[in-house]
């Protein structure tokens, strides 16, 4: 970061490349320098699972000046569960060790076609099942801001790549908060768009009805630009929705006058760390003084979100991960006969948390339990979605909540599975309801970053970004004074 390249926004980088003031190659080399500085020997933070610097430099050299792509020459990082043609796609799992996809994810293709240059595939909890990036078969990723802490997860590698100043934009994925939570833990911006806004084609499935491709940015503008490029319907994803994509960056500088911001009481429980509550309330005050109206609201079914989520997500996962059987691709382990091969391949290929969720999901779908668990959880999911529908129908434009109940915790600190699940307590609701949500840095606790979450109605990304831009603005002015 010697030359300050990494202080530039993605848009500024792109403009310099297009104007021929700087080359993509110089930004890519700066990214590598930042990576080496943040991660000496590449082992300390363990951000990347796959890189090919020679190829990345060649890709950068291929981006000439004058090329008009929205991300022309901008270095980006990709979570390792997004299918890429040249780097392996392992999902942080042994079972896909060395697997190179013969096709490319739609979101990745759109980045490439916009001129972005991939610097590497980032570490993640195996198959995105985790909230700390400790459960990767290739070792944990550490938080660049505090190396004894987790970066959050499951998209911890992408969050860390942005926080370490390596790239201005990285793609992650969300099933229950895997972009917003690590964004909060690493002090960067993270967006989970509306379900159907970004194609899932090429995103290795964990829980299809909850999975989203998400974006990290060092600034709101970086994240908005990244979303701009990957958003839009896709004929290869039947769950993508054909709604026009507005100009997200035009939300910068939108007035907060008359904007109604809801403060859902269920997200500010007595037990909440007061410093996190105060940081969110200070943010609400700043929005109020910018002209917004703040309203206390209620989303009464919020406390049912984690139980419903941990029925639905493992159920879908148990089916989505059945394809990893050692027959067509991936690492096969020898066993006695077909059955033995299946069991050896899957038992050795999957880590403990993945196996736990596969068995949990198989159980809740199995004969006699389907109605009590899966069907019931799907019904409760409707109630949770109904909460959002009602509050937005009542005239509330966006909701503001803490992104996480705590700042980044220490590596190894959380051992009980369910306690780990609870770190998604404020984020899973948006996945269950499919509404867009994002995390914006709003301060620090014990020197660790914390984030505020802005939640909007379906396809309300533009409005959500307008509020996020405003939060970023008000913080800059406050930090300045």
């Amino acid at each position: 970061m010697s030359d300050g390249a990494m202080q530039l926004t993605a848009a500024a980088m792109r403009d310099q490349v297009v104007r021929g003031e700087r080359t993509s190659r110089s930004f890519v080399d700066a990214a590598f320098a930042a990576s080496d500085a943040a991660d000496p020997g590449g082992g300390a933070l363990n951000i990347f699972l796959g890189t090919d610097r020679a190829r990345t430099r060649a890709d950068a050299d291929a981006v000439g000046a004058g090329g008009g792509g929205a991300l022309a020459g901008v270095p980006v990082a990709l979570k390792d569960n997004l299918a890429t043609l040249h780097l392996p796609t392992t999902c942080g799992s042994r079972i896909l060790e060395g697997y190179v996809s013969p096709f490319e994810a739609t979101a990745v293709r759109r980045l490439r076609e916009a001129g972005a240059v991939t610097v590497g595939k980032t570490n993640m909890d195996e198959f995105a099942m985790g909230s700390s990036t400790e459960f990767s078969a290739y070792g944990p990723t550490r938080n660049p801001l505090a190396a004894t802490r987790v970066p959050g997860g499951s998209s911890g590698g992408s969050a860390a790549a942005v926080a370490a100043g390596i790239v201005p934009i990285a793609l992650g994925s969300e099933t229950g908060g895997s972009v917003r939570q690590p964004a909060a833990f690493c002090g960067v911006v993270g967006i989970k768009p509306t379900y159907g806004r970004v194609s899932r084609y090429g995103l290795v499935a964990y829980a299809s009805s909850l999975d989203h491709v998400g974006v990290f940015g060092r600034t709101v503008d970086d994240a908005a630009l990244g979303l701009q490029v990957i958003a839009g319907s896709d004929p290869r994803d039947a769950t993508s929705i054909d709604v026009p994509v507005p100009d997200y960056r035009s939300a910068a500088g939108s007035s907060m006058a008359g904007v109604v911001v809801g403060r859902p009481r269920e997200y500010f429980p007595e037990s909440l760390d007061p410093r996190i509550r105060d940081a969110c309330d200070a943010t609400l005050d700043a929005l109020r003084s910018a002209g917004a109206e703040v309203r206390d609201v209620s989303l009464p079914h919020t406390d049912l979100a984690i139980p419903a989520y941990y029925v639905i997500a493992p159920a879908e996962a148990s089916s989505n991960l059945a394809r990893f059987d050692g027959v067509r691709y991936g690492r096969r382990a020898p066993g006695d006969g077909l059955r033995g091969m299946y069991e050896a391949t899957r038992s050795r290929g999957f880590g403990a948390e993945v196996l736990r969720r596969i068995l949990l999901g198989t159980y809740v779908l199995s004969a006699g339990y389907y109605d009590a668990y899966y069907r019931k959880a799907m019904e409760v999911r409707r109630l949770i979605a109904g909460d959002f529908h009602a509050v937005f129908a009542s005239g509330v434009d966006v909701l503001l909540t803490p992104t996480t109940p705590t700042p980044a915790f220490a590596i190894g600190a959380v051992s009980d599975p369910y306690e780990m699940y609870l770190s998604d307590i404020f984020t899973v609701t948006a996945n269950l309801a499919g509404v867009p949500a994002m995390s914006v840095p709003v301060g620090t606790v014990d020197g660790l970053p914390i984030g505020a979450q802005v939640i909007a109605p379906h396809f309300g990304e533009h409005r959500m970004l307008g509020v996020a831009y405003a939060i970023e603005r008000t913080r800059q002015t406050r930090d300045a004074t």
């Binding site: 996809s101 995103l203 290869r236 994803d237 769950t239 089916s319 027959v327 067509r328 077909l338 389907y370």
Partner: protein
């Protein structure tokens, strides 16, 4: 089975899997055609590569709706694809995408026994649902290894499930035949059991005559011909009756029909494979069909075999048997109607199509579509027979020539000298010749021995090489005898 028939009633329900005639697979654009090299017709979707997603083929939906409507089913506005979870190497995703508790259509019927001898019975159809086919496992190609070919994986299927309404193996066979006819008429499927585009599983149970509750059923798979279906059910009926009368009990299980040994054999039952953990596929929103689409599909249905049989009997005065033979396939019925309409006499057309035409096709092993004689040219040949230009026997010789070398009937008749002679001068010359050659026969004829007229007509015909018009010769000889 007669020995058991007076004590045990057979109860059969059939599950028919039909491969839909689409260009591409149900959830990906891979071709569905046969004979490609192993796994050549596969892609990220049907290989279940990580990150690939299914997208439903609109034409598969159209064909499923057409089949459902042809079977009198109610087509539902909303249907849902679910995942049927089980592990098998020819099932790439580890689940089959199949409609489960919300199928595309329910409550139809199929009539059997409304042909010549039968008494009409309506067999209920419980449901028709869409699903994807599995790949193929080849077990005998490599030592110690099974070989997996996924070219068939993702071929669109409609599964049609009947009520347990069938009561004899023959009924089950006829149900399959009628089903095949309908699927062919509507061009939904090739419906060929030998090629596997039509696959039938039978649920078989027996109960004491007069009982109303169902006995324990077994499911028979692996039958690859209509007669196989009939035989397998008959064999299983006997097995169950014998088992019960010997004090045993029928156990619910899957059986495989062995056509060579003519026996059913238990399939290796796989532990756990019965808990399929169905749930709605989150990759596929519900399939919604608007009423206009369903109505348009109904309006576009062709005339179905039963209706056509009735109309042919009505319009052309055919027997039920003839109508049945002539409607066995849509192409044959079209051929017959072409001939009958062009010629006018449906009975004569029927005799010729069922006689000369089918005989020729059977010997040559050809399909009706491959018949070199068009309905129009056959009709013109029949026209020559009707107006007496050629005799019936001459017409058969002409037809043979038309098959071999083509050409118009009239020209061939001329060229081969098969046109009947009806000009009196020519006939009179032959008559004189024969009259003079047979003095005592003519004398006895004149004396009133009428039976000799036939003898003399025969002699004239012989002299004319079969070309003389027998009716006119008869008249001329009769006049001569009265002089």
């Amino acid at each position: 089975m007669t020995t058991y028939a007076d004590r045990w009633e057979l109860v059969v329900g059939l599950e028919v899997h039909v491969q839909l005639k689409t260009r591409t697979k149900i959830f990906c654009p891979c071709p569905t055609d046969f004979g490609a090299p192993p796994n050549a017709n596969t892609c990220p979707v049907c290989l279940a590569l990580p990150g690939a997603l299914p997208v439903l083929n609109a034409h598969a939906v159209q064909l499923a709706v057409t089949a459902a409507l042809a079977l009198g089913c109610t087509v539902h506005r909303t249907s849902v694809f679910a995942r049927k979870n089980y592990f098998y190497p020819d099932l790439p995703k580890g689940y089959q995408i199949s409609q489960f508790d919300q199928p595309i259509a329910t409550a139809g019927e199929l009539a059997i026994g409304d042909d010549a001898e039968g008494t009409r019975r309506v067999i209920g159809i419980t449901r028709a649902h869409m699903e994807e086919d599995a790949g193929k496992s080849v077990h005998d190609r490599f030592a110690e290894r099974s070989a997996i070919d996924l070219n068939r994986a993702g071929t669109p299927l409609v599964e049609i499930v009947s009520e347990p309404d069938l009561r004899t193996p023959a009924e089950a066979r006829e149900y399959c035949v009628r089903m095949k006819e309908i699927l062919e008429y509507t061009e939904v499927s090739d419906a060929n059991m030998e090629e596997g585009s039509l696959r039938v599983d039978a649920n078989v149970s027996v109960r004491p005559i007069g009982a109303t509750t169902l006995g324990t059923k077994t499911e028979i798979k692996n039958m690859n011909s209509f007669s196989g279906v009939e035989r397998a059910i008959a064999v299983e009926y006997e097995r169950q009756c014998r088992l019960i009368e010997e004090g045993g009990t029928v156990v619910q299980q899957t059986l495989l029909w062995d056509a060579n040994k003519q026996e059913v054999r238990p399939a290796r039952s796989k532990e756990g494979s019965h808990d399929y953990r169905y749930f709605p596929d989150p990759d596929l929103p519900p399939l919604v069909l608007d009423g206009a689409f369903v109505q348009a599909s109904r309006d576009a249905l062709p005339e179905l075999p039963a209706a056509r049989r009735a109309r042919l009997q009505e319009t052309f005065g055919l027997s039920a048997y003839d109508a049945g033979v002539l409607t066995a396939s849509r192409a044959l019925a079209d051929y017959f109607e072409g001939v009958a309409t062009a010629h006018g006499d449906g009975r004569l057309a029927a005799n010729w199509v069922m006689g000369e035409v089918l005989a020729y096709l059977n010997n040559a092993g050809l399909a009706i579509a491959e018949c070199s004689v068009t309905p129009q040219s056959l009709a013109s040949l029949l026209g020559l027979v009707r107006d007496g230009t050629v005799s019936n026997s001459a017409a058969k010789r002409i037809f043979a020539v038309m098959i071999q070398d083509g050409g118009a009937a009239a020209e061939i008749a001329e060229r081969e000298g098969l046109v009947q002679v009806r000009d009196d001068d020519a006939l009179a010359a032959w008559v004189d010749e024969i009259w003079n050659a047979h003095p005592d026969e003519t004398a006895r004829l004149i004396a009133g021995e009428k039976k000799l007229l036939g003898v003399l007509v025969g002699a004239v015909m012989k002299r004319s090489g079969g070309r003389a018009d027998p009716r006119r010769v008869n008249q001329l000889l009769a006049e001569r005898s009265r002089r």
